[in-house]
């Protein structure tokens, strides 16, 4: 992999000169052969596009958070830390920050448990494994806004099938107003996030499981390790890097998600279920205060920096190992 393509010996033992087509040796070398130039030409447009439409907006997001930009006009001036001083003592902001943290940690913990469980069971050779995997993947494939809508209906205050079933089973004496109570509303939001993310994590962990060399497992069996010992001492440690990837994606997608909360509760009841994303949307887009919205959204940055750092570490480690 480290060898530049030009220096790598060609396969086959025939010296190159023998294989040259008649006339080919006299063909002029053109741009089409200048690998370095060609590489730059092919990569350049993409780099420019990404810098222009992801890099610059990213910097703009930071600049805007220090500005008094409003949705209506295009001019703005820098106002230093004013936006941050405005949101830092704001109880709604505290709530959103806490909710984001709670949502991310709880849902990812649940996702890890569900995903590892399903992956280990599926990997153990289950009849109908492909069919089950197809069904398990549905929540991840469906557009999140449409899925959220289905959950709004499932948690409906009058027609909730969950309430009916709990009542019918004799487990519920009172009534659950899912979106009328902050704790229940957060439970609903977390449920939807778990539902959406665990299939994806399952597939990643499953890929990791099947990448574990079979002889390692067989060796463990020969040494007399049972299911649990094999799981805890062989499979799970080897799964760690893959599980980390799954969690990183999960953390990124969950902590920054706007659609689930927006469609389920829109921050209600009494602004108790806002997350950073919905609060930023409310302040920045609906409220028109782009500066403050940007400041709120910026608090997601530390999460992403950590995620990126871990990703880079993983990538570097495998680069050395490859």
């Amino acid at each position: 992999m480290a060898l530049p393509s030009g220096t790598q010996p060609a396969s086959g033992s025939a010296p190159p000169a023998v294989a040259v087509r008649p006339g080919a040796a006299f063909r002029r070398r053109t741009l089409a052969d200048r690998e370095d130039l060609l590489g730059r030409l092919m990569l350049g447009p993409t780099l420019l596009y990404v810098i222009a439409l992801a890099g610059i907006p990213f910097l703009l997001a930071i600049v805007l958070s220090f500005s008094d930009a409003r949705a209506g006009s295009l001019s703005f001036s820098l106002v230093g830390l004013r936006n941050f001083l405005a949101i830092l003592p704001d109880p709604q902001f505290h709530r959103a920050l806490w909710n984001t943290l709670l949502l991310t940690v709880v849902s990812q913990a649940a996702v890890l448990v569900l995903a590892t469980t399903s992956a280990v069971i599926l990997d153990a050779g289950l009849p109908g494994r492909r069919a089950i995997r197809f069904l398990l993947l549905l929540p991840w494939a469906v557009p999140v806004s449409l899925a959220s809508l289905a959950w709004v209906w499932i948690f409906d205050s009058t027609f909730s099938v969950i309430n009916w079933t709990l009542k019918a089973l004799g487990l519920l004496r009172t009534w659950l107003f899912w979106f009328g109570d902050p704790a229940l509303a957060m439970t609903a939001i977390i449920t939807v996030h778990v539902w959406r993310m665990f299939p994806f994590a399952t597939v990643i962990v499953l890929a990791g499981l099947s990448a574990i060399p079979q002889d390692i497992r067989e060796a463990a069996v020969v040494d007399g390790a049972g299911f649990w010992r094999r799981l805890l001492q062989v499979d799970l440690p080897l799964l760690l890097p893959v599980a980390i990837v799954a969690v990183l994606f999960g953390v990124t997608f969950t902590s920054t998600d706007l659609s689930v909360v927006y469609l389920l509760t829109n921050g209600g009841p009494y602004n108790s279920t806002h997350v950073l994303a919905t609060l930023a949307f409310q302040r920045g887009i609906l409220g028109g205060d782009l500066g403050q919205g940007a400041a709120v959204a910026l608090f997601l940055l530390p999460v992403l920096v950590v995620v990126a750092a871990v990703m880079l570490r993983l990538a570097r480690r495998t680069e050395v190992g490859a």
Partner: protein
């Protein structure tokens, strides 16, 4: 010996029970969409306090009236058209940018390739939530508010990095020897790409087409931010935002829309998920 067998049976049974429950959890909302879409209103709107009315099954014969309403009296088909339009243009843009870049990263730029590839991939992780506010400014500077073109400009910011990364993996998996043999035979690098690499990369390119398209179909945040009129909406925005009239939810039609939209994506997605995961994890799994 018998103890051990008994224990194995118990473990197996527990495993089946666990996977059955988990699968039910995953599938249940789709079953619910299905029931809701086809139930008559008098079967649908029965308060959940009524324990004699079992909501899990059809209590009166199913009906297609909600589906008809969806297709005939709502903007659903307009949203389908908008989505296909945005999806097609974004897929084209994505291929034009990502295919050459993926190949360059895989073969032409040497050791830099790996790092640039990772850097590109990381931009995929920068979320809409952080970018929609600056984009709101950019879109208004470009005068693209409430236009499908705003989505066409912005969606490639996540499809291009992601697809470049996927394609880099595909191009790497093509045996280098084939390309070198062709160059020894007198082909230029560009000709090698056209005549040797592209035919071999067809399945990779197809995967990218599918994923770019599904990413577009799933996007909600930018559409919500930039599109305000019902006629310009895409499916993922129009169905949850504009099918609700005032405070009245037409749940039958809503769930029909959700189900009809989801099924094709789900099937296609399932066919390609292995490649997708391979692309995402090829860093972590290699080691």
């Amino acid at each position: 010996m018998r103890m051990r067998r008994a224990r194995r049976v118990v473990v197996r049974a527990a495993q089946y029970a666990a996977i059955a429950l988990i699968t039910l959890f995953a599938v249940f909302p789709f079953y619910w969409m299905f029931l809701t879409a086809l139930k008559q209103n008098r079967d649908l709107y029965v308060g959940a306090t009524n324990l004699h009315h079992v909501p899990w099954v059809f209590n009166v014969p199913p009906t297609l009236e909600h589906v008809q309403l969806l297709f005939q009296r709502t903007a659903y088909l307009v949203w389908v058209r908008n989505t296909v339009f945005v999806g097609a243009v974004v897929v084209a843009i994505t291929l034009v940018f990502a295919a050459p870049a993926g190949y360059a990263l895989a073969r032409l730029v040497g050791r830099w390739g790996e790092r640039l590839g990772i850097a590109l991939f990381l931009t995929y992780l920068v979320p809409p939530t952080l970018l929609f506010i600056p984009f709101a400014r950019i879109v208004s500077v470009l005068h693209l508010q409430n236009s499908l073109w705003s989505l066409v400009v912005i969606y490639p910011t996540f499809t291009v990095p992601f697809c470049t990364w996927l394609l880099m993996g595909f191009f790497r998996s093509i045996p280098r020897d084939l390309e070198e043999q062709a160059m020894i035979d007198g082909y230029s690098r560009l000709a090698v790409i056209r005549k040797v690499v592209m035919p071999l990369a067809v399945s990779g390119l197809l995967t990218v087409v599918i994923f770019a398209f599904t990413l577009v179909m799933q996007e909600f945040v930018y559409a919500l931010t930039f599109i305000s009129s019902v006629q310009k909406m895409t499916l993922s925005l129009g169905v949850p935002v504009a099918l609700v009239r005032g405070d009245v939810f037409y749940w039958g039609s809503l769930m029909a829309a959700a189900l009809i939209t989801s099924i094709p994506i789900a099937i296609v997605y399932n066919l390609f998920i292995d490649r997708f995961v391979a692309g995402l994890t090829h860093g972590a799994l290699k080691g």
